[in-house]
């Protein structure tokens, strides 16, 4: 069933919407959640929450890209759940590693401290990603949106792991420069 047919089921308030969504995107969402939560059981719960959110959001929304829409919900829910678990010392998976790596994007303590609005940050990130070469962009998004490991990215894109690491390092450095230039970090 194509995406628009699935969305039409949501609009028709048909419960088949969820089963068809799960059939088509269950694995995808599960993978997104699993990389963040590192637990099959927690991921399963997170994905179920995603279907519920989708049910609430459609209608009135008609997602332009259903996979990205569902992936984004799953990612956000998983990160929230991870945050909660982390507070309870249960955090694991790719998130701590990614957070550690992203610290390299943040200038040192000598910089002016500023509170940054997330929307502003997203806008900067969109501009930043737009300007990146496609290869670097895809690697960066794989690592920090999908939370894929360096090894997985290397295999998927058929690159050496060192190439992926170097690309990520350079991209983070560029992001740091941009954040400094924008005066938001």
């Amino acid at each position: 069933m194509d995406d628009n047919q699935i969305i039409a089921l949501y609009w028709a308030r048909s419960e088949n919407a969820i089963s068809e969504t799960a059939k088509k995107y269950g694995n995808y969402c599960h993978r997104v959640a699993l990389r963040i939560l590192d637990s099959r059981e927690d991921s399963e719960e997170c994905v179920n929450d995603t279907w519920l959110k989708a049910w609430e959001a459609i209608p009135p929304t008609w997602p332009e890209h259903l996979s990205a829409f569902l992936g984004k919900i799953t990612r956000n829910l998983a990160l929230q759940r991870h945050e909660k678990y982390n507070a309870a010392k249960r955090g694991s998976g790719q998130v701590p590693l990614a957070l550690h790596e992203l610290e390299g994007c943040i200038p040192g303590k000598g910089d002016v401290e500023k509170i940054i609005d997330e929307m502003v940050l997203t806008e900067i990130l969109n501009r930043f990603l737009e300007g990146l070469p496609p290869e670097s962009r895809r690697i960066f998004v794989r690592r920090y949106w999908y939370l894929h490991s360096v090894k997985e990215i290397a295999e998927e894109y058929r690159l050496s792991e060192s190439k992926v690491k170097v690309t990520l390092f350079r991209t983070r450095s560029k992001l740091r420069q941009l954040l400094e230039k924008e005066g938001v970090a």
Binding site: A12, P63, C105, R137
Partner: protein
């Protein structure tokens, strides 16, 4: 001090196109690249299999992009495949409230005019796998209106209130449910300013307008029957924009303006469309190895931004074929010189927009 957690969180809201691009999973290198072989060692063979899977996923991604875009935030694009099975027809001629519809497959046409095409009333059977009830449509005055696109701004487009679509049709509906004002979507129906209500109606949705087109039984001999009589193109567009097929297909939204200094070229193009005879898109000859016109012949998308806020979206195919995006089974083949003049202009205006 900003935390890395904020960056990770903000990344969750980046544009979907970046997420889809990364999801595609296409390998960067050609199979057999020596350094990758050395670096990946044994895993290379596994990766190669994954690369094949990745390509399949990419095709899916392309389809999703194609399906999801352009008709206004995901409202139905009726693809050729979909069109072949979609349809709603009035059985037994004129139909008033309480009469019923049958759902089924669409035949090409039984009427063959000397010139042009007659888009048949769609024969719709109530078969189990029919997707008719999945398409956004409603029935008004015995005609079936199918979603065209979602436009921004309601002030100039929305006319008189004509009724309320009940949205009562779903995949379990029976033939008896296909009554006046029934359909797969609900909302208050209005006329569209400047458009015949027999051809186009709309349902306002907040700040946007969902447009619907009825093509059942439409007789189109020359382009003027559609582009002038129904869409009133000449003299009513404020701007013309375009994007390459690649951009449209992947949802890149790299849309460019055609400068107003090129009005002569645009006028000649419109004139050529008006003069050309309508034909069935499936009659466009394919070269060896080509699967269909949408995958193998499409080159540009043209958007005529009209004074009333409507967008007339045209699809251009190699060989001089032009199609109104809402009527994807028919097209015109226009004068070669006018077509080339336009496509050459688009290449000149922005070489990277082409394919």
């Amino acid at each position: 001090m900003m935390e890395s957690r904020q960056i990770l969180s903000a990344l969750g809201e980046i544009k979907e196109k970046f997420v889809l691009e990364a999801e595609a999973g296409e390998p960067f290198r050609e199979a057999g690249a020596a350094d990758v072989d050395r670096a990946a060692g044994k895993t290379w063979r596994m990766s190669r299999r994954k690369a094949v899977t990745g390509r399949k996923k990419t095709v899916t991604g392309q389809r999703k992009a194609e399906m999801g875009r352009r008709n206004g935030r995901g409202w139905k694009i009726l693809t050729a495949a979909c069109a072949a099975i979609l349809g709603v027809a009035i059985l037994g001629g004129g139909l008033g409230a309480g009469e019923w519809f049958r759902v089924g497959t669409q035949s090409r046409t039984e009427e063959t005019p000397a010139v042009g095409v007659v888009i048949p009333p769609l024969e719709v059977s109530h078969e189990e796998n029919s997707v008719a009830d999945m398409i956004g449509f409603f029935i008004y005055q015995g005609r079936v209106y199918v979603q065209y696109r979602l436009e921004n701004g309601i002030d100039d487009l929305v006319g008189e209130y004509v009724g309320r679509a009940t949205g009562s049709i779903d995949e379990w509906s029976s033939e008896e449910d296909y009554v006046e004002l029934a359909g797969s979507i609900s909302g208050d129906i209005y006329t569209v300013n400047g458009m015949s209500p027999e051809f186009m109606l709309c349902i306002p949705r907040g700040e946007q307008v969902d447009l619907f087109i009825n093509d059942n039984g439409l007789t189109l001999e020359t382009g003027a029957d559609l582009f002038e009589e129904r869409l009133h193109l000449s003299g009513n567009y404020l701007a013309v924009e375009y994007e390459g097929r690649e951009s449209w297909f992947y949802g890149k939204e790299e849309v460019y303006s055609v400068g107003s200094e090129h009005e002569t070229v645009i006028s000649r193009f419109v004139e050529a469309m008006n003069e050309a005879e309508f034909m069935w898109a499936e009659d466009i000859p394919l070269e060896e190895g080509q699967r269909n016109i949408f995958d193998d012949k499409e080159i540009y998308h043209l958007y005529f931004r009209m004074e009333n806020g409507l967008t007339v979206h045209l699809r251009l195919f190699d060989g001089g074929y032009v199609m109104f995006s809402a009527l994807h089974r028919v097209c015109v083949q226009i004068d070669e010189a006018a077509f080339s003049e336009m496509t050459e202009l688009l290449v000149k205006e922005n070489p990277s927009a082409g394919n």
